[in-house]
Structure formats: structure tokens, C-alpha cells
Subunit: 342 residues, 4 copies
Amino acid sequence: MTAKIAILGASGYTGAELVRYIATHPDMEIAALSGNSKAGMEMAQVFPHLRHLDLPRLTTIEEIDFAGIDLAFCALPHATSQAVIAELPRDLKVVDLSADFRLRDPAAYEKWYGKPHAALELQKEAVYGLTEFYRDDIRAARLVAGTGCNAATGQYALRPLIEAGVIDLDRIVIDLKAAVSGAGRSLKENLLHAELSEGAHGYAVGGIHRHLGEFDQEFSAIAGREVRVQFTPHLIPANRGILATVYVEGEAAAVHAALAERYAEEEFLVVLPEGEHPSVRHVRGSNYCHLGVVADRIPGRAIVIAALDNLAKGSSGQAIQNANLMLGLEEGTGLRLAPLFP
Amino acid sequence: MTAKIAILGASGYTGAELVRYIATHPDMEIAALSGNSKAGMEMAQVFPHLRHLDLPRLTTIEEIDFAGIDLAFCALPHATSQAVIAELPRDLKVVDLSADFRLRDPAAYEKWYGKPHAALELQKEAVYGLTEFYRDDIRAARLVAGTGCNAATGQYALRPLIEAGVIDLDRIVIDLKAAVSGAGRSLKENLLHAELSEGAHGYAVGGIHRHLGEFDQEFSAIAGREVRVQFTPHLIPANRGILATVYVEGEAAAVHAALAERYAEEEFLVVLPEGEHPSVRHVRGSNYCHLGVVADRIPGRAIVIAALDNLAKGSSGQAIQNANLMLGLEEGTGLRLAPLFP
Amino acid sequence: MTAKIAILGASGYTGAELVRYIATHPDMEIAALSGNSKAGMEMAQVFPHLRHLDLPRLTTIEEIDFAGIDLAFCALPHATSQAVIAELPRDLKVVDLSADFRLRDPAAYEKWYGKPHAALELQKEAVYGLTEFYRDDIRAARLVAGTGCNAATGQYALRPLIEAGVIDLDRIVIDLKAAVSGAGRSLKENLLHAELSEGAHGYAVGGIHRHLGEFDQEFSAIAGREVRVQFTPHLIPANRGILATVYVEGEAAAVHAALAERYAEEEFLVVLPEGEHPSVRHVRGSNYCHLGVVADRIPGRAIVIAALDNLAKGSSGQAIQNANLMLGLEEGTGLRLAPLFP
Amino acid sequence: MTAKIAILGASGYTGAELVRYIATHPDMEIAALSGNSKAGMEMAQVFPHLRHLDLPRLTTIEEIDFAGIDLAFCALPHATSQAVIAELPRDLKVVDLSADFRLRDPAAYEKWYGKPHAALELQKEAVYGLTEFYRDDIRAARLVAGTGCNAATGQYALRPLIEAGVIDLDRIVIDLKAAVSGAGRSLKENLLHAELSEGAHGYAVGGIHRHLGEFDQEFSAIAGREVRVQFTPHLIPANRGILATVYVEGEAAAVHAALAERYAEEEFLVVLPEGEHPSVRHVRGSNYCHLGVVADRIPGRAIVIAALDNLAKGSSGQAIQNANLMLGLEEGTGLRLAPLFP
């Protein structure tokens, strides 16, 4: 049986990436696409690269008949998402790609997002969408909150180390290099080609990036104590990809072992042999995350490097993976497209 | 039944692209990979983006047992290819991605490639691999010669116009913009990032590019008279994609009609509405070719713009499409991956 | 004596480029900078790369006391420029970088810019700013109209050929590849890094680009008859540079001779030996224009390729060159910075 | 009096960058250029962007008559440099851009460069070329050793902090993002446009990069004890620029004050207001280094970010600055070119 899918907010990059994956997914079919500011348009006008597909026209959310929909992906802006989902049928499965349901603590939400949460009941119900760590909950969930793309990358590098107790929890530095599509299709000066090309710069420097809310929540929960990491993202002149260089205090061999053991059965999390490290160009366009561990010359310190595609494994690929679970499908269905290189 | 595939010359970009497509092709399985200078290595070492796949180790060609192979893709350098194919079993189906069997006239081969052809019997047997125009011959062929990537782009724009007699055959200018992967993984100064990034320049200017041999052969055959086009390729700072801007003398409406009619049933050749024109970013990583026609302000002149991915539709995607036909499979099997954007 | 300079519209790319040149110009000093939407800000906030310079704060135009100003560069948007310049003191020397005063015929202006000109008296006074062809007029001018950057490139390639009568005037095709800074610092979707990087596409295809107004005006004036060229610009993923590939019917030797002779004494117009052709990466950041001529394989046809930096020789460099003449300075003063490569 | 300059190894990127600066330097004149593998060629053939300059032809080093030369820049490969300089006249002023004379301790040299130093007497004589910290020694020196480009960036961020005693010397992490021109014009697969564009990856991960030898030497000397930092460089898809993100334990205010005070009189070292941080795009093509300090959310931790152009301030610009001192010229002569943006 083919699941009928709606994508709310299909006119952004994560929406288009969902369509790309579903286009060759054997068990999903796109039944509705919304894009309020572009309602009435064909997807081919908004995203000519999808021109070859037979897709429904973009509508408003209100125009969608959710009776025939099995699952909705919600790729709307932060804050909008919670208002929209609150109005959806209560039995509709939803994978939300916004930040609205990632933080379980309403106070944390308000701290990082600057206003009170408007759908607290939904927030209680939502399951955090880091598939490999919340798999059973996701399978049973009605509402799954996709993680931040940076937050996913950092967690893949660090969760097994915290679980295994092989690193100093007070000395974690995540230096992250992010490609520009993570900022979405928004018209901002620093996202212009003329500004970014041949450039590179930090942003949200000093521990103010919102994905820190996710790190704090998750790492503290694992450790059973408060954990606060340093996290500095940088924008680099590339379209897709996140490379997180994580500095930890711990033995490289133990760090590597913790990752390798934890991910031994994880199809999409690939741990390289100790001493090797990944490149974003080798995961681009795919749902794979590559992880490497290298010992520093200073004894007792190690460097973990994780690479994934922010739009795929970091966002829409993760969303499909979660949807597969929620729909009772084999988890990796439709997600095994190889990276595009060069 | 799954076809067993060998890829000879798997350590180059077209080889890797074949692997990418076959990785999710339901009816093909990679049984052997050769890469002489890298024999003994794992593909994951040569192409880490393919690390998640369970692939045979690279060997020499001599080490391959062709008894169990249904079809070989030959992605070897020009001139090497003819020597290697001459030694393969005579009943092995072969799709050659080199230039060796594209030109039917031995004199034309010698003129454009600078030495006599060393496998004239094979050349006689080879079918020119522009799928949409040689489909029946390809279905019956043992040896198919993949076209040049630039040659494919130009022909998609022009063949229907010549067939339909709607343009002046003596006034055709093809100005082509090519991304750098078309030059392969070769270590040349002008292919360095520091040289090409923020650059753009013509190459083989003046009608000396070898793909002109294909244009001359094909266009003259269609027209029933000698046709000589102007063709100037340019290298642009991008990895994938060819954009051909073709200047013709003829009515835009007739030009558009000729393309639209000829390609009405062609899944991978997408003709845009008259007045629209394509971008390479909308076909990247896919087997689709987008074509557009715009009338010039000068009456009686039209501009045809064609965009495709040189490694996909221009080379390895085309090769898979041809192999599907040769193996009795549905032509588009495995080739419907959507473009990667952004 | 150091000339006091005002730059109106200093918060755009051409404004910043003027500042870059004047920063090391021995005979110019920046006395006032306007940027209406950013009035009150320091240039270092708008353009941090100019942070090391001691510059006046951005003001509104109204706040500038033009009494002490020798020359104003007007880098304002089209249409705004004519309104502003009409209000400036009548004896102030002005170099306008907008399109407002490029077309001598009011009807042509209205045709290409879509509304009547609002300062016809000024338009009559304005001198077209293609330095090497209007040098004496510019020296005596009060108001000089900077040319379009594409228009400059095409004219450098073609004017000497039309003057010398060595090409067919009815068969001229200009295929132009332009970097993105020519579009200014405007927030448009197609200028985003995620959209343009790895992309390339035509724009204003079909003979509708406004710089055609300049080609028509200038080429017709030289030829003494109406000349209409084909002109198709393309956007490529680079920040600076224009590469114009011009297809002409004429003997390459005669074409090359016409360029070489005409530019023999022109410091900034460099004609390469016949058979060589230029790259934009070799003129980036400089006031130099490189030109090459190659014979096509079809007898009687030639390809002229011209490369320049759209922000420098195509705009702000040209403006400085003209200002030098207007101020009685040596023409190339401050303009001999070498290109930045890589 | 104009100083006569020789550039040995002028066919690489640092050689070309020296020529770019000297082209508009009022007190230097290029008298000789060597490039052994390209001896006999014009610079315009090797670097067409320098075509407008009247330069001597490339020769072998042996062909140069050093009698008339005031100062030689030696831009030769590591190890070659020491052999060549040993053969130069003993009274010739030399600025070496290689790594050969950076490490004062022969054992350190052997450790990091893998073989014994072959010119120990010269090494004793050499002055380390970090201008702002060795100014007086450089003024008096005959032989100055240019610093590593990464080493310069890290030192600009850290030296004043170590001097001022405001950070924990055992907890320093330098995460560095480097553009590709730092690798020179060498033909390596990972420097190809098709490999690097849309990529980003670490290199020399784990504390094995040779510039650590410089950090160890300099920081230990300042601190009066052994200091070992963590240093992980990354290659990003850009041509020019180094962005170093330095994680330190110390109060941000004290860290900022230490930098601001130390560099208050340094023209080329620009400290941003506390809380701001730089981008490589704002120093490209210039001799300026921008530095910023931001407090982390974790009390007692700060992030210092430094940006410079590896070919300019990181190498050839630094070399010119040192040469100015050695020749008795004003230190910043010829180096005040503004950055190229966009």
C-alpha cells in the first residue's frame, strides 16, 4: 500500500528535498503540496528541477483535504509550524521539520526562541526525531520533531561518547562548518553569491545558536547532569554539507570504539577506520553521515569529525527515515541514493 | 533476472557515476570493477562517497572473468578503449564511454584523433549511442559507442531542426558552457580550484574540438549534405553541467514546434514552453535534458538553449539508458533520480 | 592638488569599488559619501573590507556641502540618478554610473527603460563614457555617462571592426558570460549562493537586455547605418568578470589587425597575439581588458573574445579613468593595480 | 633610490603575488625573475594576469647577476631554498618565503621536516619574519625567514594573550579554515576544482601540521615554558584566505584588551570591537589582518577569530613588509591596497 503524503511548506529547500526523495520512494506518493505565498503555482515554476514529475499544484494549507492523507511533512518556518499543526486533524501523522517541537522544556523553548510556546500539549506529545536514538518512540509516534541539522551532526559525534563515559563533559568544543542551504531560500545579504563565495565567517559566535538548546537537552539527559558544550558554527562557500570538528578530552581509541560499537548496525552512520576523517563532498545529496576519529598529538585528546548533508540526513532525509518508521515501512526505504560526487 | 555488470576504468568520474546509478538500479549488479593504476584498492579508497556500498575490489582487466558478465561498461581513456575492447569476448555486450567508436569514417577518426584506428572491424559494428535517435539499433547492438557529452547536448538542440528543415544549415553557432568534471579527474593546472574558480575561459576555440567530428557526421547524415557548424566550448567554475546556447536562423515558433513534436514522447528530453530557457542547476545529477527556445529580436533568428549533466545524461546516464535497451530492460530503469538542487 | 570627491550611492558594489581605487589614488580624496538607506552609518559597517580607511560617515545627499567638491561619482540606481543629478550644482563635475545618460535619443531611452526621460537637458549635455573612444569629449565634459559593463565589453571587441569595415554588420552574435556582482547587492533569489553556485543560465535572452540600446546607438553611429546585433548574456557562478565571445563574419587576420592597430597605444586594452584568447581570471580586480581573436575552421569567420572586470574596467575603473581626464590628471592615475590572481 | 629586486621561484603563487605588489610599489623594481622549470619563458605566459607589466624574462638562478640586486625574495620549495640561499652572495639581503629558516632549533627542524638542516650557519643568522614582533631584528637582518601562513594567523590571535598572561596555556585549540591557494600551484587531486568545490575537509588532523613547529617555538619562548596547542587546519572551497577560530580559556574582556592594546599602533592588524568577528572576504587581496573576540556563553571562555589573506599578509605581503624594513623604507610602502570585495 502506498502512503499518501502531504508536504506543507513545499516551496522551500527542505520541501523540495522531500519531493526529490519521494520521487523515487516506492511506497510514498505525494498527494498534496502547500506553499502559501506560492499557492496556485506549479512546482515546476518554483523548482524547475522537479519539472519532470507529475505533482499536484501548490495550494494553501486550508485547501488540502487531509482525509486521504496518511502523513504530513511540515516544512514551515519556526513558530508558524506550531500554529498550523495545532489545526491539523488529531489523528494525522506529522513529521515536523521546524524547531517548534524539539525542546521538551517550555522554559528552554522560550529561552532559545524568544517567546512562549503556543501549543504545549503538542509539545508534550512530540518525539525528538534523531532516528538512531529514538527509533522505538518514533515508530509509535504521531508527531515527530525533526532535529536541527547542526544539532544532528554534533549529536552523532558525541552521544556515544557521553553514553560510554569516555570524555570529559566539561571540555567539549564543536567547531562546525556549514554550507549555505541550511539558511534556506531566504533573501539575506550574507547569502548572496557575491558575498559568500570566496568568504567564510563565523555566525552565532559565543554560544548563542539555537541548536545549543538541543545539545543541552540531549547531552544533559544522557549524562544525568548538566552538560554545556561550546558550539561555534561557520558559514562556508558551499551549498550542501556540514562538517563538525569536535574537540574532546579522552583517549582516541576509546572514543573510536564507542562510536564504532554504537553504530555497528546503523546503516546510515558510517564510522571510518581510526585515524581517517571525512569530507562533506562524500556525503552530498545522501542520507549517509561519515564519522572519523583522530588522536591529537597531546595525549588524552581526540578530534571527532562528522560530515553529513544538511538538507538530507540533517533534515529531509531524516524526516523520510522517521516517516518510514511511523508508517510501518522498512526504515531505509527510498533513502539509499548514493552521494553525488563530484 | 539481475544483469551482471563489469565497469572497466572505474576509477574515473564516469566510472564512479555508473556505480552511483547502478547502486539503486533494480536490475543491475556490479560484478567486477577494473582500474589498472589502482588495482587492488577498494573503491572506498578511490571514491569515499561510495563507501556505503558493497562493491568488488578494483582489479586489472586481465583478472576479470567475463564468463559471468552480461555487459561491460568501458570507461577507459580514448585509444586505450579500442585496444581493450578488441581483446574482450566477442559475445560480450559493451557500452563504450570513450571516443573510440563514435566516428564511422576511419578517415574522420584519424583526422580528429590524430592516428589511425586500430580496431576497424569493431568500429564497423559499433552503434552511435544517442539513445533517442538510435534506439532500435542500440537495442540490437553488441557494441554501443557513447557520444561526447558536448556532442549530445548540441545534437539534442539541433537534430530535430535539421530533420524538420526549419533552419539555415550554414549559419549555426553553438556556444557551449561546460563544467569541469567533463575534463575528468586529470591533474592539469587549469583544472585546479585556484585557477578555475572565479574564472571562465574558452577552450578549443576556432573549431578544433573533437566533438565537431560527431556534429559533422551526424548533421551531414541527417541533412543529406555537408553541414559544418561553429562550436566554441567554454570552461566555467562549476562541477557538473553543460549549457549550450545555439544560435540559428529560422522562425522560433517553427524551431520550438520541431523540438516539441520530436520529443513529445521522450521522457528524458524536456522541452520548455516557448520563451523559457533552462539552467544547468536544474538538471544536475540527473538524466534529464531541458531545452528551451526563444525568438531573437531580429526576425527570423532563434536561440535554442539546452542543459544537461555531462556526467549523467551526457555520459554515464546515457550509458545506462543504452545498456537497459541492450539488456531488454525498460529503457528508463534506474534513471529517474531527480536532480540535486540546490 | 588633490581633488575632493563625493560618491553618491556609496553603499553598493560600484560605490565600494570606487572607494577601493581612490584609497590608493594619489590625487583624489574622498570628501563625502552618501547612502540614503544607510545614512548615519560608518562605511566599515556597510563594507568591513574598507575598515582600515579613514572615511567620512555615510550621509544623505542633502547633507553634502558640494561647495568643496570637485567631482561627484553618482552610483545610484537607474532613474534615481537623473533626478538627483538635476538637483546638483550646475558646475559640479559628475561621472554617472547609472544607465540614465547613456542613450542620446530620448525615444531610445523610453523604449529600453520604459518611461520618458526626466532630465532631457542633462541628457543632451552628457558624454558617453567609453574612454578610449570619447576621450577628448570626456576631457571637456561636465557630465559623463558611464557605459553598461556588458556594453563596454562588446564595444571593445567590435568597434574597431566596424570602423575598419572588416566584418559583416548583419551577422554579429555576442554571447556573454557575466559574473554575479554585475547585478549589484540586490536581494534576488537567483543571486543567492545556493541558487547560482553550480549553476549557469541565460538571462534577458532574445535581445531584450537594455545594454542593446547602447550597442544599437554606438554601432549604428560608427557604421553610418542601422546595425542590430544579437546579444545573449548568461550568469555564471563567479563574482567578478565578463567574458564576451563574439562571432563575426570576416577574416581573422583582418579582425586581429583592426583591434591591434586601434589599441596599439591603449594602455588598458591589451590585444593578445592572434590565436590566443583571454580568461576573466586574468583581469579580475583590474582596469585591464584582454582581447583575443581566433579564426574559426569555417573560412571567413572569426571569434573575438574579450574579458574584463565588470566592477573595474566595466564600471568604477572606467569612472575613475574618465574622472582623471575631467580633472586634468594623467588618465591612468591610480588605475594600474595588477589583477588579483588566484 | 629604487631598490633592485630579484624573485627566485617566480612561477608559483607567492612569486606572482610578490610581482603584483611590487608592480605598484614606488621604491622597488624587479630586476630579475627565476623559475627553473620555466626558464626562458615570459611571465605573461606563466601568469597572463601580469601581461600588462614590463618584466624581465624568467631565467635560471645561475643566470642572474646578483651584483646589481639589492634584495632577493626566495619563493622556492622547502629544502630547495636552503641549498640555493647558501650559494647566494653573502652580502645579499634575502627574504625567504619557504619553511627552511623558521625553526631556530635544528632538532625541531629535523623533527618537523624529516631531515637534517643543510645550512645551519644560515639558520643561526636568520630572523623570524613575523614583522610586528621582530621588527627591530628584521630591520637589521640580512636573512629573514617568512612565517608559515597558518602560523602567522594563529600567532596574531595568540601572542598578546600569552604575553599578557590572560589565558590558560594548556587549553588552546586553533581550528583553522584555509583556502586552497595556500597549497600552491601543485597538481594534486584534492586541489582540483571538481574535488574541492562543494567540499570541505580537515587535513593534517591530529597535530601533525608542520606549522606547529612554529607555534611550539614561539609560544614557548614567550611563555618561558613549554606550550603545546591543538591545531587542526581545514581546506575550504575558496582561493584565498585563512580564518582561524581560536578557543581559549580566559575572560573575553581581558583577551580583547590584550589584543587591542598590543595592536593599537599596528596599521595592518585591525582589532574589531569586542563581540564582533571577521570574515576572510573582507581581507582578500590585502595585507590587513582582522581580529575579533567574542565571549562564550560558558564563563571564562573566549573565542578569538583572526582572518587574513594567506598569499598577502600570510606570505608575500609579509615578505614585502619585511623587505621594506630591511631596505630602510617606510614599513607599509606599497602594501596599502584595499581588499578586493566582492
